[in-house]
Amino acid sequence: MSRVFLTWAVTHSVKEVQTEDSVLLFVVAWTITEIIRYSFYTFSLLNHLPYLIKWARYTLFIILYPMGVSGELLTIYAALPFVRQSGLYSISLPNKYNFSFDYYTFLILVMISYIPLFPQLYFHMLRQRRKVLSHTEEHKKSE
């Protein structure tokens, strides 16, 4: 969900941010994450999951996740002045449908929503890591 939003609604829509370093930052983080994640799913379905992949999936996120989030937030922040200037995706009163939407304020609310959401997801992954990786160690010990 946030992938689509960052890609289309921010980076594609606001051309001026496409040369920002923050875009490189989240693209690299997402790319590495996805390669590992889908390998994990594929091998799991084949019932042959190398420990390395499982380890990578549940460990590398510790760096990649904050990296990705930083890239995303910096990109949104960079887009703000251009959105304000151009009135992108915004509609103001008066109009015949008696409706208004301010994309600039919406983006700020999106950024604020990272504050509760990011720690929840991050700590969930950390808990999963403890569960999954200690489980494998027990299996190894019993062999």
């Binding site: 009163l93 008066p94 109009n95 015949k96 449908y97 008696n98 409706f99 208004s100």
Partner: protein, 349 residues
């Protein structure tokens, strides 16, 4: 079944190893033996209540009347576990089965003379009436705050000013009428099947009603509000639709109330009465929802306001889901349910 079971002496001979957490409560003194000298063989049941998740024995009741209802058993259970008042108890025959009804009678259930029930805590409960009154009073007051342009909602130069558009005043009257009607119906018309619902629903429901009311009211009462494109004709037509549907909705509520005697929970097939508004029952299972959507469509056309259209749409989706559920349960319960009826929209949905 048929054997008289008594456990002589058990009431006084609790094993010493029973921990306080697993206290067994015995109803009545079964220490006195009931033998062949009894004049009438009364078959008493024993009821044990286990936690559905942990299978822990929570309560044991002996000497339970065969005609005891689930409601009475719930009351007995509350005595040993007062934090679980009857409204938050779900008793079922299987750990993952459906809840038994309060009116179910013990001896009519498929249980032996020792009945085992599984208990699930439904969480804190709140009465339907309380929820309805709260969720409807909010929009009534919130809309008026925007209508009177109370400070901090619009710019300071608009504080306590009035709109110059007649339709804005009309919309306020309609919106207020709608919620006053709902409040009065809650107090005097509706007969609820369930007394309570989970407590968290009040937060969810109030966010929905109060949030949408504020959003709609903001635009309709805004100093830059644009009246409908087709002017007075559009407003008059919309008002007619709105009033027609309000009357229709009220007629259905009264008809449903009259199906059910006070204090009972009987369910019957609703049929059209002499009131023409109820003739919609010929085509639809839940005409109250049909009329409700109609009212909000009328209000949307009257105000020509996109947030109102969105509120109508969301409301329609929710009511369609409820109507389909109600329709299905009518079909399940009544063999002779009229086949022409659809849940909410004639012939379509």
């Amino acid at each position: 079944p048929g054997a008289i079971r008594f456990r002589a002496g058990e009431a006084s001979a609790l094993p010493a190893s029973v921990s306080p957490r697993r206290r067994w409560w015995h109803g009545g003194d079964s220490a006195a033996p009931r033998g062949g000298g009894a004049k009438k063989a009364v078959l008493f049941f024993e009821v044990e209540i286990l936690d559905a998740k942990t299978r822990e024995k929570l309560c044991f009741l002996d000497k339970v009347e065969p005609q005891a209802t689930i409601a009475e058993i719930k009351n007995l259970f509350t005595k040993t576990h007062p934090q679980w008042y009857p409204a938050r108890q779900s008793l079922r025959l299987e750990p993952k089965g459906r809840s038994l009804k309060d009116e179910d009678v013990l001896q009519s259930l498929p249980v032996g003379t020792t009945a085992t029930f599984y208990f699930r805590d439904l969480g804190a409960q709140i009465s339907w009436v309380t929820v309805f009154l709260t969720e409807y009073a909010g929009p009534l007051l919130i809309y008026l705050l925007f209508y009177f342009r109370v400070p901090f909602l619009y710019g300071p130069r608009y504080d306590f000013t009035a709109s110059r558009h007649a339709v804005v005043h009309l919309a306020c009257a309609c919106h207020s009428f709608h919620y006053i009607k709902r409040l009065l119906e809650t107090l005097f018309v509706h007969r609820f099947s369930h007394g309570t619902m989970p407590l968290r629903n009040i937060f969810k429901n109030c966010t929905y009603y109060w949030g949408f009311a504020a959003w709609m009211a903001y635009y309709i009462n805004h100093p830059l509000y644009t009246p409908p494109a087709y002017g007075d004709e559009q407003v008059k037509l919309a008002l007619a639709v709105f009033l027609f549907c309000q009357l229709g909705n009220f007629s259905i509520h009264v008809a449903l109330r009259n199906l059910r005697p006070a204090g009972s929970k009987t369910r019957k097939i609703p049929y059209p009465t002499r009131n023409p508004f109820t003739w919609l029952f010929l085509l639809v299972s839940c005409p109250n929802y049909t009329y409700e959507v109609g009212s909000w469509i009328g209000f949307t056309i009257m105000t020509q306001c996109l947030p109102v259209a969105l509120f109508s749409l969301v409301g329609f989706v929710q009511m369609a889901i409820w109507a389909q559920g109600k329709h299905r349960s009518y079909l399940r319960e009544f063999r002779d349910y009229p086949p022409l009826r659809s849940p909410i929209v004639p012939f379509l949905l």
